[in-house]
Symmetry: C2
Subunit: 449 residues, 2 copies
């Protein structure tokens, strides 16, 4: 697809290739300046994150982009459009990390957006509306803030999604100070966040595309550099499930008189594992994880029939109904196994986080871009939470590009090849350059489920 005022794929690819050294230099500076001896630490609303924002802002300024920070500290870097009043496209991700994390989770998306705008500017592209790279604050909120909060504090602050009082009830784990205190200490304006209209909304943002390293091994296993995310999986989680039986002597009590919490739990989890196979066989999306499973260290013993087991259940899917069906199956099985084995299961509350469907129109345009640029790719779900999900919650169409990554994420072993990153920037630049063309007939906006 080429049209008036859009660069050819060949020209675009050359311009992207010329902008990659800037991204490589920024990755290297982030590595050097936010290393902690083990991994990378860019603490949200703290020194590490600020170093990253300063580096990126300085690079954007030197490229001639319009650089601003919003009241919550999110950094925007804009290539001005012909019509400044028209809602524009945003692309980016966060710059904070978990403690001792890796260099790419978050930063890859912010630098990809900056590199794409660099390439378009180099080509002399003048977009119809503003194109904005955004570096978001505090996406790793769960690692830095305790107290009561809903995570993703930078994007949720900008989108008007904070709960009443969340600026005060989110408390940084190391300092004990509130989110409002840290926002103000970093030079921003929590009072504006608290009382004004949202800093970002559909009237200003035409759509949001987030490039991110894949946090699993799917692209690596498939031999593909890029993925286009269909949906950010929701989750349904039981944090404090348990099975209560009775402690007795392991030698002196025959099977029929036992209330064995371990073997009852083993039966429940084995049945749920089989139920998972059934869901996959029906072509539905599901992942199921028992991350914690433990007898009581104060009470258990080699020669005691176990009287208690605690465990967690993490059920994730692109479909809420699939998760609810798995929860119902767990409750049904627990009741039957409990009655038959003389134990009591208490699965406890299940906390739901809704899936966030990625916008179908953007996904189709991204797939079209991959074809135009000859980039091998596949569609795939995203299993972890991302800022892109928050944009969908206020009705902003959003999508995600995954870049192949070895070593998982949230650890120093994250390993993204710069060639794969370059494919992501090519796709992103192509998309931003062509995004204001009319969407293909029949494409609609899928809202958050």
């Amino acid at each position: 697809m080429t049209a008036a005022n859009t660069p050819s794929p060949a020209a675009l690819s050359r311009a992207v290739a010329e902008s990659l050294p800037l991204a490589e230099r920024l990755f290297a500076e982030l590595q050097a300046r936010t290393g902690d001896g083990v991994g990378l630490t860019r603490d949200a609303y703290g020194k590490g994150e600020q170093i990253a924002h300063d580096l990126v802002a300085e690079a954007a300024r030197s490229l001639g982009l319009e650089v601003r920070a919003d009241a919550a500290g999110n950094l925007t870097m804009t290539l001005a459009g012909r019509d400044r009043a028209r809602p524009g496209w945003f692309s980016g991700s966060h710059l904070d990390t978990v403690p001792r994390g890796g260099n790419y989770d978050g930063a890859a998306g912010a630098l990809a957006a900056l590199a794409a705008l660099t390439a378009l500017k180099r080509l002399g592209h003048r977009p119809a509306a503003d194109l904005t790279a955004i570096a978001i604050r505090c996406e790793e909120a769960g690692s830095w803030f305790g107290g009561r909060h809903g995570g993703h504090l930078g994007s949720r602050a900008a989108l008007g999604l904070l709960w009443p009082g969340e600026l005060d009830s989110a408390v940084r784990l190391d300092t004990g100070k509130s989110l409002a205190w840290h926002m103000e200490a970093a030079g921003f304006d929590p009072a504006r966040v608290r009382s004004g209209p949202p800093l970002l909304g559909p009237e200003r943002v035409r759509g949001f595309v987030e490039l991110h390293i894949e946090q699993g091994p799917v692209l690596e296993a498939a031999g593909l550099p890029l993925g286009i995310v269909t949906s950010i999986r929701g989750s349904l989680r039981a944090r404090s499930a348990r099975c209560l039986g009775a402690y007795t002597h392991s030698g002196a009590v025959p099977k029929e008189l036992r209330h064995d919490a371990v073997l009852a739990t083993v039966e429940l989890l084995g049945e749920l594992d089989r139920a998972w196979d059934g869901v996959l066989a029906r072509g539905q999306d599901l992942v199921f994880t028992v991350g914690k499973l433990f007898t009581d260290p104060e009470m258990h013993g080699l020669s005691k029939v176990p009287g208690e087991v605690r465990f967690t259940l993490d059920i994730r899917s692109q479909e809420t109904a699939t998760m609810r069906a798995m929860e119902a199956e767990a409750q049904r099985l627990a009741a039957g196994i409990g009655a038959r084995r003389g134990v009591r299961f208490e699965l406890g509350p299940f906390a739901l986080s809704e899936p966030a469907a990625m916008d179908r129109g953007i996904r189709e345009r991204l797939a079209e871009g991959c074809r135009a640029l000859a980039i091998p790719h596949q569609e795939m779900p995203c299993g972890a939470g991302h800022d892109a999900a928050d944009f969908t919650r206020v009705g902003i169409p959003a999508a995600m590009i995954f870049v192949r990554n070895q070593g998982g994420s949230h650890n120093p072993g994250e390993r993204m090849e710069i060639a794969d990153f370059g494919e992501g920037v090519r796709l992103l630049a192509w998309f931003l350059a062509t995004a204001d063309l009319p969407p293909p007939a029949g494409a609609g906006f899928a809202k958050a489920g």
Copy 2:
């Protein structure tokens, strides 16, 4: 069965009924004088055990029995036989407890033997050979002594079963002093234990009968006061089994790319649970316990696919072959599941303790006694270790009488009814009064396996 010089069942029952108040008084004094505020504490080769030995010895002396302590501190109380040189019958159990234990585990057997001799003496019975009640030291060695030792230190010291150096390598957990030190401090003669011939052997002991509370709920569930033990189960134990997989993101990794240690372990343990059902269906004796099962508290998380699980396996049976078959099944399943699920099981070493078959001739006489005295009973295995097993290891025929007990053992909730205890004393007195009659034709001595 009545014969010359043996009392009638009716006369015996009356004499036992008249000797029970003595046992009740001794139980009450033990309760009062070795209580710790929570349960009972009679520390082995310490003050609590000595209080119990002094109480019992004083009662035996006042009854006119011959009271002695051997070089290891085991207390013998003998009703002299017509032929003092002939090997005699012994009956008894230990007087020590676990810390904060109950009043009956051990003491019931020592007091039952004393009460039975009291009844026989009251009847003017003159046995063919000596009849001896024995209060054994330090059966709960695992609760009091650390270092290197093989448990049951009192009976094993008497029977010549201590390992070379065990008197020095067994070290009391609270004092740090050796078994030899404590034996000497309590007034006994570790040098004699160390160098002389065994204090007890087949040339002196015709057979050993131990009455003990049942440590499980079988008799309670069956509504029977007494059980006759067929065999003391052996055990085959893996203390440090584990499954090694790989930690990954619970949302981002599809099922086929996981190395999930929990779900692999769940499959293994579920299959072993079914294998256990199969063994029982074939009429074989087996109990199977996973007392400890835990993910790594330093590494696990709600949203991490678990990369490691540790667990224990406790396999017990009256037949070594049944235990070895279960071990082989565990290894076979672990290899197959490990290969299929991309994890590695390391079940670690299995430690074997052989079963100890109770003597068939004594068991048949005990069953005959139950019929003569109209005592409802059943045959049953014993799941825990007892001094009786050690007697079988040196070729002394041994057997056990179980008395119904609620509340398990090794805790303050042990609850034996004195009426059930009385049935045990009746059976024991009948057995001791008639034991020197010729055994029924065809009865042989089953040795330890």
